[in-house]
């Protein structure tokens, strides 16, 4: 293949993850894209398809600190952020950090908890810091949240408002493995507990360096214009009630940079953009009610937009 290039370090991570998760390379790649561009991922999926394993594998591969928060209706914001406890011995309050104080966080079933607790998480994601008792504490870098939503249970849930969804860089579905893949999953479950054997393949410092590298990936003006055209079209599309905000355009560009790096390139191609558009834009679009009645979903609208917007094949400025 002519195009087949990879970034060696990132490929190592992917290889590591693939040791424990079978046939989910795309999800692993997208997670790395989010991790590299400093964004967070919303996974909408049923339990038991390997979300936790994947995030833990990712965390182990980069030697990062992994935390899991199981969101329940009675979870309080302080259960996420941490709390100051009075130490009678020392006669002072000591801060006991909450589970958010980690590198890689799995926020499981985020829609089960109250909006108050949700917003504590979302604020932490946005600001990369938490404020407890008037003291703002920065979070460690890298900081990556993978939140999950259960799409089939609606009783007693607090669905995330669409505006809040904007804070996730990517939204994706894991899906079930194929038959052969599932057989392989069973095989591995029988003979090995591979997750525990995973070694880290890069250091956190190296990861941070890679994040910097992703920022430096060249995005030509023609590509920027292409991204803006896509976003613009989403705002004028006849089925869309609310289109993609400029934050969405930025997200798409950053994700494309990270994806290009993952592909071993130092420049972004329209192909990168096209590949990522559904993951970046789908959860940022609010369709008109009639579109929902007609069975049109955001994925279809995005597909149509991508097919109709002219891919740049000449330099914008010559």
């Amino acid at each position: 293949m002519i195009y087949k290039q990879v970034n060696q370090k990132l490929e190592k991570i992917l290889g590591n993850i693939e040791k424990v998760i079978i046939g989910k390379r795309d999800i692993a790649e997208l997670s790395i894209v989010a991790l590299l561009s400093g964004g967070h991922v919303l996974l909408e999926d049923v339990p038991g398809v390997g979300k936790t394993v994947m995030v833990r594998a990712l965390a182990r591969s980069i030697g990062a600190n992994f935390k899991r928060i199981q969101f329940t209706p009675d979870l309080l914001p302080s259960d996420v952020t941490g709390v100051s406890i009075f130490n009678p011995k020392e006669q002072e309050f000591i801060f006991r950090p909450g589970p958010i104080m980690g590198h890689i966080i799995l926020a499981d079933e985020i829609n089960r908890t109250s909006p108050k607790t949700q917003s504590a998480l979302l604020e932490a994601m946005e600001e990369a810091s938490v404020t407890v008792d008037g003291v703002t504490r920065g979070l460690e870098k890298p900081f990556f949240v993978m939140a999950t939503q259960n799409p089939i249970e609606y009783e007693g849930t607090y669905p995330l408002p669409e505006a809040q969804l904007d804070r996730f860089l990517l939204k994706m579905k894991m899906g079930y493995p194929g038959v052969d893949e599932e057989i392989e999953v069973l095989h591995r479950a029988q003979y090995a507990a591979p997750l525990e054997e995973l070694e880290s393949v890069i250091t956190l410092e190296e990861l941070i360096a890679l994040q910097e590298e992703a920022k430096a990936v060249i995005v030509d003006d023609t590509i920027k214009r292409y991204i803006v055209n896509l976003a613009n079209r989403s705002r004028t599309h006849e089925r869309v009630y609310l289109g993609v905000s400029p934050r969405g355009s930025i997200a798409l560009m950053k994700a494309a940079q990270a994806y290009a790096l993952l592909q071993g390139r130092d420049y972004v191609l329209p192909d990168d953009v096209q590949y990522l558009v559904p993951f970046v834009f789908a959860h940022r679009l609010i369709l008109k009610p009639e579109a929902n009645y007609e069975g049109v979903d955001a994925g279809m609208v995005i597909h149509e937009i991508v097919a109709t917007i002219q891919v740049p094949v000449k330099r914008a400025v010559t």
């Binding site: 060249i218 192909d271 991508v306 917007i309």
Partner: protein, 734 residues
């Protein structure tokens, strides 16, 4: 086990070419049966040979040469008795060829020689074999030819003795087999399938089954009896009817015909010579006039009022010769040599004949009312004179005198009655038109001129073809004036007479010949008058002057010379009454007659028109060929543009990879591989490479991406990429 694709294709091609050959032979079979074409084997061999050359992919030059040689040898074999290697036949054949080319150019298809016909037939077959090759190999679709064959055979079966029953079954089998195989071929090419033996077997088995079942079903199934009566008897009876009508009245020959009671219909040209005359100046020749308009044509009241004069008698002594003083005249004499014999004597102008003398002439009867002279023997039987001489005056009329006549005088009672006759029930609009045309004129001459000029208008078209007959209840003139406005001399002259009569001006309808063409007869310069010169025109009676001819027919200038004795005084008036074009025309006419009395104006005009037609013809041929070239060039641009670009870029130095790449995109679009708007270059390149079976496009694209999406500066990549670019450009044009 896989069959290698080339082997499969080879077999497929052999099969398809064979079927193509069989289809062509279905076209040749009836040719052998229905025409007198013999030796059909030679032509079948030619088709086989041509298809073989296609199959083995011979270079087109070799193919053309070999086939030309085959054609030459066959033509020689079929039509020449000389031995093959005596090349004398070749020279003869070349001469024959050029002669036939000119025949084709003149449209004389019936004169083509047999060798040339054979040659043309070979060319046609050559074309068909090429088309078979094109449909099978390039288009992979034979449906059009298959359908044509079916239609061809069914038409032959219906309308000729050829029995197409078996042919139809054969064609259906061949056609279905070809359609099925080509479908498989298209599938394998489009989807880039590689077949193993089993599916092909399956395909062929199913195909065979389908053909067998459909043929058996079609053959054995009960069939409807014809849903409408056999069209052939109807068509033939209809065409017979038409032919009969043709021969009786629809298409008349131009020529002198006594019966004018039913005018109308087209006329066929007839250039057979009627007579020669050596008159010093060309003028019209009159036979007779007719007075009674029936609404369909003209009849004459059989004249009783005649007098007799003898051969060579001076007529000035008779009272028939009356030339008024106001008419100037030049004496002329002419010898008339008849090629078609009639009893009537051709004469130039009524009333101005001085003497007629035939070698064997005896007596002449002059019917005054009809203005017709009949040559007779002593016993009163008509005599056909072969040659006669005559002396006559050629008049010139003074317009000033003519303009003085504004109404009939009292002496004209009978004449007025007779020459203003119109049938009852003549449509009113003719009267309205007549008064509308003449309302602004005061005298008869200007009124007559106004009506004459009316026919010069753009609405009227001169044509001998497509001229209608009036309907059963329709007036001949009414139809011409208000409906068709297409016609020849009879239409124009009759219409003018009727309009004049409707305006109460005495007028009559004259038949005869125009002056004809200059020619040489028995070593003498003469006028040659043919049946094509048969003509009819109009005469108007002016009291005190006599019958004055007018020429309403479009494109004819008339023969009579008018002058104006009041010219100086009447200058202004003249220019008012005559349209400028008319004045111009008259002036030209006058001067020509004065300067060169024997000049043949009509012939010279014909030459002029002829040379103009030549220019128009060649200009249009050039323009059409240019247009065709441009069209062909435009539609085949996919073929030639890449080669041009390759040459251009070979010569170019420096960095121009970007422009070359964009050109390639354009060319790919022309080749039918347009990139959808939303497709990225990378996906597109993969698609293009899949189509052409290369990896060049992806290589080029990878480099191009760096330049446009990474902002790399073009630097020396052209040399590395040029070969790939050229090979792709060539691929798109093949």
């Amino acid at each position: 086990m896989n069959v290698s694709t080339p082997l499969l294709e080879k077999w497929m091609h052999v099969l398809l070419y064979t079927f193509g050959l069989l289809l062509i032979t279905e076209w040749l079979r009836p040719v052998e049966k229905l025409t007198d074409t013999g030796n059909i084997v030679v032509f079948v061999l030619f088709v086989i040979f041509s298809l073989l050359l296609h199959y083995f992919h011979f270079h087109w030059l070799i193919r053309c040469t070999l086939l030309s040689v085959y054609i030459m040898i066959s033509v020689q074999f079929l039509h020449s008795k000389t031995a093959l290697f005596e090349f004398s036949w070749f020279k003869g054949y070349l001469l024959d060829f050029t002669a036939n080319l000119s025949n084709i150019y003149d449209g004389k298809w019936e004169l083509l020689s047999n060798p040339f016909r054979t040659f043309l037939f070979f060319l046609l077959l050559w074309l068909v074999t090429y088309l078979i090759h094109y449909w099978v190999m390039v288009k992979q679709s034979i449906f059009f030819f298959f359908m044509l064959t079916v239609i061809f055979i069914s038409i032959l079966d219906t309308f000729t003795p050829y029995d197409g029953d078996k042919a139809m079954i054969r064609i259906i089998i061949i056609g279905f087999a070809m359609l099925g195989l080509l479908a498989l071929m298209r599938l394998s090419i489009q989807e880039q399938l590689r077949f193993s033996r089993a599916p092909i077997k399956k395909w062929i088995l199913i195909l065979t089954g389908m053909i067998v079942i459909s043929v058996l079903f079609g053959f054995g199934a009960p069939k409807f009896s014809p849903q409408w009566p056999d069209p052939v008897p109807y068509i033939t009876s209809y065409s017979d009817k038409v032919m009969k009508e043709d021969s009786s009245s629809t298409d008349k020959r131009v020529g002198y015909d006594e019966d004018d009671s039913e005018l109308g219909g087209s006329i066929e040209p007839d250039s057979s010579i009627v007579f020669y005359n050596n008159a010093p100046a060309g003028h019209y020749w009159k036979v007779e006039n007719k007075d009674v308009y029936t609404g369909k044509g003209w009849v004459s009241l059989e004249g009783i009022d005649f007098f007799t004069f003898s051969n060579g008698q001076e007529m000035t002594s008779l009272n028939t010769y009356d030339i008024p003083e106001v008419v100037k005249a030049d004496e002329m004499s002419a010898r008339v040599s008849m090629m078609e014999l009639y009893s009537h004597i051709l004469h130039p102008q009524s009333g101005y004949l001085k003497k007629v003398e035939g070698k064997k002439g005896k007596e002449f009867k002059f019917y005054k009312d009809m203005d017709k002279i009949i040559s007779e023997k002593e016993d009163g039987e008509s005599l056909l004179l072969k040659e006669y001489e005559m002396t006559y005056d050629m008049p010139r009329f003074d317009m000033a005198e003519l303009r003085k006549v504004t109404e009939p005088d009292e002496t004209m009672g009978v004449l007025m009655d007779k020459n203003t006759q119109l049938p009852e029930g003549l449509p009113n609009r003719i009267y309205e038109l007549a008064s509308q045309l003449t309302i602004n004129e005061t005298n008869w001459y200007d009124k007559a001129k106004a009506i004459e000029n009316y026919f010069d208008g753009p609405d009227f078209v001169y044509s001998k073809d497509d001229v209608a007959y009036p309907g059963a209840n329709q007036d001949y003139v009414d139809q011409f004036l208000f409906e068709t406005q297409i016609g020849y001399c009879d239409n124009y002259s009759t219409a003018m007479v009727v309009l004049l009569r409707a305006a109460n001006i005495p007028a009559r309808w004259v038949k005869g010949y125009t002056e004809g063409e200059k020619s040489i007869y028995k070593g003498e310069s003469v006028y040659k008058v043919t049946n094509n010169n048969a003509h009819s025109w109009v005469e108007v009676y002016f009291s005190g002057i006599g019958w004055i001819p007018f020429e309403p027919t479009k494109g004819f200038t008339g023969e009579v010379e008018f002058y104006n004795s009041d010219l100086k005084q009447d200058d202004i008036k003249n220019s008012e009454t005559d349209t400028p074009a008319n004045a111009e025309q008259k002036k030209m006419e006058t001067s020509e007659r004065h300067d060169t009395p024997d000049k043949d104006t009509l012939a010279s005009r014909d030459r002029f028109v002829g040379s103009q037609e030549g220019i128009v013809k060649w200009t249009s041929i050039t323009l059409i060929s240019l247009l065709m070239l441009v069209t062909i060039g435009y539609f085949s641009r996919r073929k030639w543009i890449p080669h041009l670009q390759i040459l251009r870029y070979k010569k170019k130095s420096g960095s121009h990879f970007t422009t070359a790449y964009l050109l390639l995109l354009k060319q790919l679009k022309r080749a039918g591989l347009a990139r959808p708007e939303g497709q990225t270059l990378r996906e597109y390149a993969a698609y293009v490479d899949a189509v052409y079976g290369t990896d060049e496009m992806q290589k080029l694209t990878a480099r191009y991406e760096l330049i446009i999406y990474r902002g790399d500066v073009e630097n020396g990549e052209w040399e590395h990429l040029q070969i790939g670019w050229e090979s792709l450009m060539k691929k798109t044009s093949s």
